[in-house]
Amino acid sequence: MLSPIIATAVTITYALLGLAILLTLWRLWKGPATVDRVLALDTLGINIIAVILLIGLALGTRLYLEAALILAMAGFIGTVALGKYLLGGDIIE
């Protein structure tokens, strides 16, 4: 069980991460350039990793760790692939 202090901190952090996700979604929606959207997507991925880790802490399970790790890897590869696409049009050279 979480102690009251940590439970409060988890709630506050949920709120901060929710704010971060909303702001990132606004940038994803607004653009204006494609790179802005890719940057917003990457940031969104990291925000979601933080939320997943926090859920793991709140539920007292470590099963979410692998999900966070895989999302970190998939997010990175996706961002680099999109960046490469913008750079040259070809993803595989």
Binding site: S3, I5, Y14, L16, L23, V35, I46, M73, T79
Partner: protein
């Protein structure tokens, strides 16, 4: 003693959340792409670092398990953040051009 650890974990969690939020604020507030790049690629990295330190401290000091598996995520993010910044900045120069100074 437990109280001190709990407060440290709580402070680290909120600090991490705050830094991630600041990264997102930078993404919204900054005037052009290159200045926007600074917020997420770094404030977010430190934010994740703080949250992960809180999780490790919690599992080691309160649950009594030495299983710092979250450290792998932090390590991965610290290695990949510069690469992401570099690829996106290069893509930006190619697609939207470089400002005068």
């Amino acid at each position: 003693m437990t109280q001190v650890i709990e407060i440290t974990v709580a402070v680290l969690l909120v600090l991490g959340g705050a830094f991630i939020a600041i990264g997102a604020i930078a993404l919204v507030r900054m005037p052009d792409f290159y200045t926007r790049l600074h917020g997420p690629t770094k404030a977010t990295t430190l934010g994740m670092g703080a949250i992960i330190m809180a999780l490790i401290l919690h599992s080691v000091a309160i649950d009594g398990r030495l299983e710092p598996g979250e450290a792998a995520i932090s390590l991965f993010l610290f290695i990949t953040a510069p690469v992401v910044a570099h690829v996106l900045a290069k893509a930006a120069i190619r697609t939207i051009g470089r400002p005068k100074i």
